[in-house]
Subunit: 211 residues, 4 copies
DNA sequence: TATGAATGAGCGTTCATTCAT
DNA sequence: CATGAATGAACGCTCATTCAT
């Protein structure tokens, strides 16, 4: 399965104000189509038409369709990352594990409530084969999480793995809830449950051993 | 988003043995293409060619492409379900929570190791829009889990939600590990961690309350 | 400059009578467009439309545009080859060099008169990069020429090269005349000249040496 | 002072001088692309980018793509012509036919060896439909050839046609050899053969008649 | 019934060329 | 004037699906 590198010759970055608008229109149209129509309708022609720009203009700024998807993901990840960043720095040095966890989980859930459509679309519609590793944003995020939660860990043999498990499961669960049980997002139950899930996982009474 | 009815009944009940073989050939070819080539190569023509059946024959047994995907997922889910069924019945009445959890998680992990390609393909390649809710198989499974783990629960306000959380997170985590850290599957660490994650989540020392 | 092999997976050969007609229609339409419109108008869509077949049908029998060009050339070369074959076998064993040469050149010229449009189109319109080596037909032809003319050669150091030179120059000259001086084809002058050109080249009075 | 002159320059001369540079850059870029990439990559945008000039500037000096091709051919033809000019004037009045022919053919071959890439590109990549008749350069050249070789002709009924035949066939053969048998260019065999071909064609023992 | 042939709709992408600043 | 941005018109090609034998 040969894949063309997504980051090939990224077409000219817009230098004039005019083209900045064009690029924004394309991104906006892409977002709209992905969220409202889905991946099947996510065609370059449709995007250009919805953006009100010529298809060739689209290709002047994005070398191919994948690049649009990548940009979408990049922007989405950056948004999330920024916000998390701020909050993490605020809460990291104060409070109990439960308090910190509550804040973190609450924040994640809130973040997902804000733009659930985009989030869902990026996560659900884009074929996983096209997903950029997001490693930059993700790994940075995990480092922050690690630093914020490490002080509370007890008997955790592999803190980095624990953080990995937490972030992956939290993301997955919230996404699943968005899709399958959206009403749960409106209460606090889901936050409570996730805090409960992770609290004792990090503060283990004794080392976990197989009997 | 208008969707064409996905789950029309398969046009023809394979009453004869020949039909059964044809359908199997199609399913087998579909599986091969999905795992070895990916969703992009998953075209009805390609499937028919690989299956050695005429494209029209394919459409005699499957009303459209989605039906093939649905059948694939159905078979895959059924396979998993069956196995889980058996094991769950074996272990449900004996041992401690940790033992039961260990067995369950170990089993899930093992199951994923056996056919990771198919699993990954069904999970990663098929656009989520096409994913049948799998509610039949899944909900049955969750009932089994619920029955197996309920006796151990302490201070769990919503057992059904807890099971939901466990199954969703476990699936997600294992899938993530298959994709991003496949080497972890070879050791027992991941099982240990998941057991640790769920053990105290189900046997909570005291009711979880926000301070 | 990477080239994709032209002879990749040549699509299904037509087995039914119906598709034979389709292929013929495509070839005929291709010929028409190439001769009457030129390379610039030689698009697969135009060919299909002119042929009265669906564009997809075209691609059912030709893997890509190059394959159509190749088929065109193949058929054209085969036609020429066949005729030359026959005539060469007739004249090879009788007459003087001048007579044989006259027949050969006359035949080539006549052949070009018959289908000058196709010939010109294949030779002039198709970018040389797409020209198949034609080695099969051409080399066979040259072998025939060699056998027919070798008995007459005197003091020719490299008969095979001489044949190469003769065929290449004859082709080129006639093509040039078709394009630039078509009226010359109507008289016998051009035949006379070519015979004169080749006659003494093959029957050299003495070995050619540099003084 | 220098400032004034500079201003003057930048108003008048330099604009012409600049234009020249721009045109040269375009021509140079065109040559590069045609030789190194081929006709398929020969797009106005690519040319402008490679030349380091804006696409609109390109269209300020060339009304369309064809004009670039024409200029390319014109310059190439002029180059060849110039050189031939000089040599022809040198050799025309001395030596035997064989000597003159040898010099001429040798010169043509050498000329092709020098810039075979450009030559080949202009000849092979440009669709023949776009080829300018080159009549200016070519006909001038042929006149020179005619004057140089006419004194040696014996029993040649149509000297002008003979020259036409010689130039066309020589060009074609050498081009063919560049493409198909480039190794032949390294020896003298090809020169010898061409001289042999033309020598007796021009000095015919007796008038050529059909029996 | 099983098969080869057919097809409409559309996709991603390009390019020669022109506008507008 | 020079430049970045814009654009219309295609182009090569695919695919899910249906027809006709």
């Amino acid at each position: 399965m040969s894949r063309i590198s997504t980051t090939q010759k990224s077409r000219k970055m817009p230098s004039q104000e005019r083209s900045r608008l064009t690029v924004d229109a394309i991104i906006q149209a892409s977002t709209y189509i992905l969220t409202e129509v889905g991946w099947k309708g996510f065609t370059t022609n449709a995007i250009a038409e919805r953006a009100g720009v010529n298809i060739s203009s689209l290709y002047q700024f994005f070398p191919n369709k994948e690049a649009i998807v990548a940009e979408l993901q990049k922007r989405h990840a950056a948004e999330m990352s920024d916000e998390l960043h701020k909050i993490l720095q605020l809460v990291s040095l104060q409070g109990s594990l439960k308090q910190v966890l509550t804040l973190l989980v609450h924040m994640i859930v809130e973040k997902h409530k804000v733009a659930p459509a985009v989030h869902k679309a990026v996560l659900e519609e884009v074929p996983l084969t096209l997903k950029t590793s997001c490693s930059d944003a993700d790994s940075q995020l995990r480092i922050l999480f690690l630093e914020a939660l490490k002080p509370f860990m007890q008997n955790v043999p592999n803190p980095e793995l624990a953080i990995h498990i937490i972030t992956v499961t939290a993301q997955a669960l919230i996404n699943n809830i968005i899709v399958e049980r959206p009403k749960l997002l409106q209460g606090t139950e889901i936050v409570t449950e996730l805090v409960a899930l992770y609290e004792y996982y990090l503060e283990r009474p004794t080392a976990t051993t197989l009997p």
